[in-house]
Assembly symmetry: C2
Homo-oligomer: 204 residues x 2
Amino acid sequence: MSNKGLPRHIGFIPDGNRRWALERELPKEAGYSFGIAPGLALYERCKQLGVDEVSVYGFTQDNTRRPSEQTERFRAACVEFATDIARRGASLLVVGDESSALFPPELRAFRRRQGEGMKVNFLVNYGWEWDLDGLREGGLRSGDVSRLDLVVRWGGGRRLSGFLPVQSVYADIYVVDAYWPDYERAHLEAALAWYRQQDRTLGG
Amino acid sequence: MSNKGLPRHIGFIPDGNRRWALERELPKEAGYSFGIAPGLALYERCKQLGVDEVSVYGFTQDNTRRPSEQTERFRAACVEFATDIARRGASLLVVGDESSALFPPELRAFRRRQGEGMKVNFLVNYGWEWDLDGLREGGLRSGDVSRLDLVVRWGGGRRLSGFLPVQSVYADIYVVDAYWPDYERAHLEAALAWYRQQDRTLGG
């Protein structure tokens, strides 16, 4: 298979877990655990395609203002996802403010990249201001994350919501209307097909 | 008229001037001058609607790597547009690196905001790195530009291309496939109608 036109680095914003749960008459916070299996499927597919690096939105410092039923569930879902992909051999880096009690202690070791496989940058208790504030002290706090070629967002929102603002400056943004727990491989294929058609001049 | 759901601050990325010219068998650089009248029409419409602030992509430091036939023409078009909206009473701030020879000297006075009308931030010889580098010295170089609610891009590209990365973190992004010189008021109306339907949680 040719890699022509395959993005080197893809960002994923897995939005819509709560709306998915509400549609099923489940409590909002029940949605998060249904996002783990899709995440693993997406990870395996990217690895299979030969993508070099992926960045995944876990949760943000803003998200932690939500009710504790929600914050507990999304923290647990993030720990489960991260632990599983580390076990599967990902080269995992967790990017987020570990100085806060809201940062899951289980993930502290991954604030330095661990492992040798496909690079996965997982944003956990991440904040764009926290990230950029690093510039005041010499460099971005996400300095080990490379520039994004493509960002795929589920849940219909046409915005970045603070997702790696520096790495996203030239990224093509593809939006899937389906909610994240309804992830299908076809969503990724459609995003990649669309990406191949984009004209990228990078301003030149 | 009710202002409910009207974005307070809108960003505009007027892309597609060169492709528009090529479609008409004109030289690429001929496209820029056809972008001025649409810009004035858009300015007047935003003022009429009661928008508080608009930010407009003029050209970037990356753009200045293009052939001189192009850089001369887009610089001239930017000067003409800026001069005209200042005359029309805009509260004009030009945001960009004025230390370079590529910054039009005619616009130097507008590196500090001038005028009392609708705020217009016009990005001229702007660079996202130049902007963020200000953080190393205390603050963004675009520090006088407020957070964007909506970004409208012409020319079909689904990306920000370095447009005010900090102010764009939560902006809804609306893409018009038409090239910028083919601007019609209906494009703006469609963007505003779409914006009113978006659910904005700002992460909370």
